[in-house]
Symmetry: C2
Subunit: 295 residues, 2 copies
Amino acid sequence: MKLCILGAAAGGGVPQWNCGCGQCILARAGSPRVRPRTQDSVAVRGPGSGIGLLNASPDVAVQMARTEDLWPRGARQSPVAAVVLTNGDLDHCLGLLSLREWQPLVVYATAAVRRDLCEGNAMFRTLERFPGQSTWRTLPLDREIALGDTGVLVRAVPAPGKVPVHVRRAPSVEDNVALVLREDGRRATTVYATAVGRVDPLRGEIERAACVLFDGTFYRADEIVALCGARAEDMAHVPIGGPGGSLAALAGISARRVYTHVNNTNPILDAESAERAAVEAAGWQVAEDGMEIAA
Amino acid sequence: MKLCILGAAAGGGVPQWNCGCGQCILARAGSPRVRPRTQDSVAVRGPGSGIGLLNASPDVAVQMARTEDLWPRGARQSPVAAVVLTNGDLDHCLGLLSLREWQPLVVYATAAVRRDLCEGNAMFRTLERFPGQSTWRTLPLDREIALGDTGVLVRAVPAPGKVPVHVRRAPSVEDNVALVLREDGRRATTVYATAVGRVDPLRGEIERAACVLFDGTFYRADEIVALCGARAEDMAHVPIGGPGGSLAALAGISARRVYTHVNNTNPILDAESAERAAVEAAGWQVAEDGMEIAA
């Protein structure tokens, strides 16, 4: 099984259009210290022929254009066998609307996420121009399914999350999931968990995994309080640092470990920062766009 | 007044994610014959301080990241004074949802387009996280208004269009407009008209203009019939070629003339094609991303 990080940034990307912080300035200037990153999405390829997309970021067009594995294999074709959504946040779903050119598309989402998107937004009718254009399949919780013809098996497990900003309803266990992936016929698992409010519910899966792509949104709980009044936990992202952070909580795991879904404010983006040194000293990598992982 | 073509392609861009035609293959390969293009949007700058965006394409993030004029001028800031929508098609509106990071945003649209987007799609609540985040202003027909503090005046004129694919209602004169732009204090106008079902209603504006950015979606009326069953006119785009095409209809105008909003199927994208030679022989340019126009 091969994973390719199509986008390693949180919502807004790096640089973010309206941000003039030091890190965004370095990213715009082409500095090797802070590489530009697009928004969170991963391509997964197994022994089968199709490729799975984990989330469809608003940047999906540029991500597909620069990733040869995702180029069409015929005059009108896409190797994308299915898209799996881990929640209904715009940075994970908006890209579906860029996959609209008369191409059949299979989307896995929990029933709650599907309802929020399709019943609440007329724009998704664009994916229903002909019978069979979009096929929505229910992503079950805690049950492994085959991801199209990719040869990859995926199991969604509930993760502490939140209702998307634009949705008005009570929270549901279906709002946010982590994915446990493995190649058909093999035991080694990869955990993909890029929106995680608390570490504990996922600890067991991560301890058993060979690889984990984990929520690297914020380093500090108060990283964006000054910008919008919210703490990391309010946005259902456990911070990396601090006594309650993921770095401390996941000390001692043996999995290959990668922080991704990194917000433009997070100092681990800067290759010369103390925070980058701290996560690397603890055995973590910081994801970049295009990073490939054999898992 | 300075215009910058942020994206010169029609919906789907060039290359298009699911297209393996000869032109998309050349674009992916980096051939100088077919340059990659993102989806239709134009930045307009006048003697004022702010910059106007004409449409917000799904590619707005990459367009802003590579255009220095659009970079923030402070720690949290955007020089974008306002976005003007010419219709409610996804390739013109989806980018609004990528301009969501706690930044005030002024959007001009006709009442019909605004209703379709905001009342039909819960996702637009993401632009209402705090009072004053998004300010929607009604784009009047046939009346010139100041575009924020850009120093640019804009007048919307009805253009033969269509109801967006995802909208279920009767057509309205507000569905699709062309924009007539001029620098405050000057007479020379630029017409921006990238979705035009028939040339005639706009002929007078174009004859009086110093510059026109015109609908270059399709070269032939039957260009995508085999793909989706629709003719150019069904999609409210007059083709370039043929006896009823824009090249013949606009022969003899004196304005600087540029075809933009070019679909990946249009042979004018290929610098070596007979169709490119034909439009250039008639005095037209074919827009590329990043093209700047002093107007």
